[in-house]
Subunit: 361 residues, 2 copies
């Protein structure tokens, strides 16, 4: 976590670079890593995918480029003020707020433009969006399990135990999970669960209590806040992270983004990704072994599986075997399809067997 | 709220009806209100839209009809057992679980089929899905405001104050909000807010504290649990409910479903709808008055507005005026576009002015 004044300093430094370039008679420019799949490389040390050596330059040597740097300068001023006042805002608010700027050339034409600029600033300064106090539009996950934490809110500190002090809905993590401090826990492992139906099944069946498991609800493709808290649980509490999702290519991508990060946020991999996270299921081999109710793969599923075979994140023996099996059987199954064996099958049989196989239990 | 044994009795009674019809030499049948827009009528007494007098009959006089009643009988048995064991399940689990039934004719062919059947059972028995212990797939809203409640969980009671005992994410309401008892409150009014970005803005700006406002996050089209808690807050705490959404036809539908219920759940209007709920904005007249950043109406927006003019729920002077104004100006604006006047405009100016106009403050 970067402090507010550090984040502010990084921004001011960037603006100062533009100033110095001007003052030195140079055309101002900003250099960024090229953000395409071919420029993602595996970082042995951290175990996640990050940008490679190829870079792109934004220069004021054209009207378009000059306008981009002007917008960057206005945005830097807004963010620096926001940090000084200890305020925060959403990406969408920033886009709208630009309409109030005095220089119409600095106003954004679309939200894609302002979103991209904030990502550029993250990359160049090495400060995360959260530390600029930019909030996401959508809220993150809920937690349920033997974890006691302290959240620093604008209204003071709150100490919350994620089983004893919450309702069945669990603890709603805040937009910036770095406002949380872990106080105490009895977690043996954390299970990051894709769907709300399965999250509720685990909680109803008392799986978190029986196995001292922290249930993290991913809510489909997980928000940054959810990936961040997952990483912090792993790194700070030293517990295994297991991802439990549907048995289809879109869910493998969810696992991929938890474990290895995404192309879009490769600059944040060391902040968001948990390379030690492992995949519990649903595996294609489970569809066969447990004869799960399934749907045939659609063309889009097949294309997605084939593209995963090319994806550096999935180039392991395990994933190649599973994905080829799935293409072979032509089927996909949802995690809730385990209910075809009864409502307790997932907690009494499936998860204990899988976790035992994986050496977690 | 129906008790578990009442819900179970209603289901058993329905199965007993089939039995009696058989025993009396009649062909078993089940009669339901016809569920189309033309069969929705305004109920003066409750102020919400409910089904009219037209009915449809499911009879075992064809193979298809007999199969439908067989599936109903199996589902009734499953639900009755679930209630007896104090368990619960999702609609998707029910669909998958039917694969374990001994009679393959009773198994569902698609989830639409099992979903529709559960709705039919709700209508015929007068018991809500929640009281059958069917959980939704997706979780409901969060609450933030001066409300202390007690939630009955499977792990005992939890007393939670929705400002003092929660983090910035707020209190996550459980799937069945009837497990909540309101203990104490200082709420002057409740604001049901469409987007996460605006919900977070209100909480960051301390609007809930400054105005003793309960902020309910609708998360787009609200889940049943969210509409239910909104109604209970209104009816039991006697506080005004205000809906704050984007200024487009899809958001007016969100308001419509909170206030008047939907065609799909017209049998639940008296349980879910809050006809006293009023619309704060964004109103088309706000787009003009505050010169808000806007997007042009797409063809689909225009069609939706025109269909709202035909919708009985929107046939009031207020809505006709607003919708016609919007068609005239050809623009729509999001609630976060208020940020074009600065981040505090919504809490310092817009909401206080609108709430004063409406007589809430």
């Amino acid at each position: 976590m970067t402090t507010e004044s550090d984040a502010r300093d990084e921004l001011i430094d960037l603006a100062a670079d533009f100033y110095d370039q001007f003052a030195g008679g140079e055309i101002p420019e900003m250099t960024l890593p090229t953000r395409t799949k071919s420029n993602i490389v595996y970082d042995e040390e951290s175990g996640v995918w990050t940008y490679g050596d190829r870079t792109s330059t934004r220069s004021a040597n054209s009207v378009g480029g000059a306008r981009k740097l002007l917008k960057a300068a206005y945005t830097i001023e807004f963010l620096a003020d926001q940090l000084e006042e200890d305020r925060s805002s959403t990406l969408r608010e920033l886009y709208y707020l630009s309409e109030s700027w005095d220089n119409t050339e600095a106003q954004f034409n679309s939200q894609d433009e302002s979103n991209d600029l904030v990502e550029d600033l993250e990359i160049v300064t090495g400060v995360t969006r959260e530390d600029f106090h930019m909030r996401p539009e959508e809220s993150g996950a809920t937690l349920m399990g033997p974890l006691k934490l302290r959240e620093q809110t604008r209204r003071g500190e709150r100490e919350i135990h994620c089983q004893e002090d919450v309702g069945e809905g669990g603890y709603q993590i805040p937009n910036n999970p770095d406002m949380i401090e872990f106080l105490d826990h009895d977690i043996e492992f954390a299970l990051a669960v894709e769907t709300g139906g399965m999250r509720d099944r685990l909680v109803e069946n008392g799986f978190d209590e029986a196995y001292d498991c922290l249930v993290i609800h991913l809510k489909g493709q997980p928000a940054r806040a959810t990936r961040r808290i997952t990483k912090r649980v792993h790194d700070e509490l030293d517990v295994p992270i297991l991802v439990f999702a549907d048995g289809d290519p879109w869910s493998y991508r969810i696992y991929g983004s938890v474990a290895y990060g995404s192309i879009k946020s490769a600059h944040l991999s060391t902040y968001l990704a948990t390379p030690e996270a492992r995949y519990v299921g649903i595996q294609p081999e489970d569809i066969v072994e447990y004869d799960l109710p399934s749907d045939p793969l659609a063309d889009s599923d097949i294309n997605a599986l084939e593209s995963e075979l090319e994806d550096p994140r999935f180039q392991t023996d395990y994933w190649e075997e599973q994905i080829e099996l799935q293409l072979d059987i032509g089927k996909k199954s949802e995690q809730q399809s385990l209910a075809s064996r009864g409502l307790d099958f997932v907690t009494d049989t499936y998860l204990p067997e899988r976790l035992d196989e994986m050496g977690v239990l």
